[in-house]
């Protein structure tokens, strides 16, 4: 038997290891920026709605940086082998999407569309999940990002009461339930998306409790 077969295979594995390292580094970089952006955006929980503009502004630089880092990562990947390595950055992309979605909600009180994501992060969202010929953000990553918004919304409902903004929970509640009815359209299988979808109802409940507290005390006028 020819041992050369195995030597060749080993060479190829070693070569791929290099690419793995590069991807890992790029993802680590992306995470770093995401954490900074997250730190900046989370200030939105401690200010009244009138000041969220500045909060969103303060994270602008990080979003530009994220776009840059994602573009660097994308250059390492050939579209045809995209899914070979996809797992390595998928989590980071979910985080990046959730930050972009949160930021757009803060500034415009609406759900960021895939087009918005493309604008902020610089890569197309593969909405129809077709075979790809370029680097993309997957529709699952986008949806994970949207699910993360529910957590932020429930915190925001609580925190807006703290900063004495008792009208805002109503808006948040309406928006959250609209968004939830969107998610209820999906036929999810037993995967990560499904598990996280199942947790949305707790966020909705929290938001409703805030509403209840305000109403029962006659604070909503």
């Amino acid at each position: 038997m020819d041992i050369q077969i195995f030597i060749d295979l080993q060479d190829r594995l070693d070569q791929e290891t290099k690419l793995f390292e590069q991807i890992k580094d790029a993802v680590k970089e992306l995470y770093k920026t995401c954490r900074l952006a997250s730190a900046n955006l989370s200030k939105a929980h401690s200010v009244p709605q009138s000041q969220t503009k500045e909060v969103v502004e303060s994270a602008k630089a990080q979003f530009a940086e994220m776009k840059q880092k994602i573009s660097e990562l994308s250059k390492l990947i050939e579209p045809v082998t995209f899914y070979r390595y996809h797992d390595m950055w998928s989590n980071a992309f979910q985080t990046a999407c959730s930050l972009a979605i949160f930021s757009i909600y803060l500034s415009e009180s609406r759900l960021a569309t895939p087009k918005d994501i493309e604008q902020v992060l610089g890569q197309k969202v593969n909405v129809d999940d077709s075979q790809i010929t370029e680097f993309v953000i997957t529709v699952e990553e986008y949806l994970h990002g949207v699910i993360s918004l529910f957590g932020e919304l429930s915190r925001l409902a609580v925190n807006s009461v703290i900063v004495n903004d008792i009208k805002r929970p109503q808006d948040i509640s309406t928006f959250a339930s609209e968004l939830y009815s969107g998610f209820q359209l999906l036929n999810l299988k037993n995967d990560a998306l499904r598990r996280r979808f199942d947790s949305i109802k707790y966020d909705i409940k929290k938001i409703e409790e805030v509403q209840y507290d305000l109403r029962v005390r006659g604070l909503l006028g």
């Binding site: 038997m1 020819d2 041992i3 077969i5 195995f6 030597i7 295979l9 080993q10 190829r12 594995l13 070693d14 791929e16 290891t17 579209p79 045809v80 082998t81 995209f82 899914y83 070979r84 996809h86 609406r110 759900l111 569309t113 909405v127 129809d128 999940d129 075979q131 790809i132 010929t133 529709v139 699952e140 949806l143 928006f175 609209e178 968004l179 009815s181 969107g182 998610f183 209820q184 359209l185 999906l186 036929n187 999810l188 299988k189």
Partner: protein, 261 residues
Amino acid sequence: MSDQETAKHTKKPRFNKQAPQPSIAPTENMSESKKSIIQQFTLYRDTLDAHYDQRERVIKASRDITALSKKMVFSLLRITQDPPSRVFKEVEDKNTMVLAIFSRLAQDIQGSDAFKYNSNSTHGLQEYIEALGLWVFLRDNMLITKGQVEEMLASSGVKILVTDNDYILGISDLPGEVNRYCINAIGKGDRGAVENSLVFLRALKEGIHLLVSSGRIRDLNKKLEVLESSLEKTERAYYSMSIRESEMKAVNESKGVMAVD
């Protein structure tokens, strides 16, 4: 408008009882924001459904390929009892059936989808590589190459990606079958077959050992352990065969001496 809407929704197919689709469609009393959310998510639903269906088809094909490949292996192992020509003919027929499944599978794993669904298709492919590997070993006394696997798949007229992982994990399952073949061969006293198996297993062990050290392929460690135990079993079996043979020789010789006396 609302009449049309309700008409559309009451016309649900009757068999659809167990999985009612939440039938929210944009209606006029919906707010603009809700309308746009519903519209978007309807699109995502279709996208995800298509993806889940495709994955399901790949899993099914992979399962069918696994089952048929196992049958190929069993046919091949009968080579110690049946005439090789008949065995190879039988395997040839089964192989044609597997290739037909592969050509069905191929539609779902083209382009970037090849890697996307690799984790769903790899099991069947590995099992097939194992069967082909045993075939090539019995026919040519050689280790099948990745090129040979690809060529065989291409002969069905479709393009199917074989990754290094698929290939390595496929051939690392070979020792178990070679060991089985070898034990049968010992039963028949086929020294040549045992000799060949041993050489093959030893070389395979060295090769796989080389790849384990790269640490990149999951599960390969476990497979190497199985390989080593197969090798040991084969060596022990060969050892007892050799002992028995020399014993017999000694007995025969002493008989021969007695006869002369």
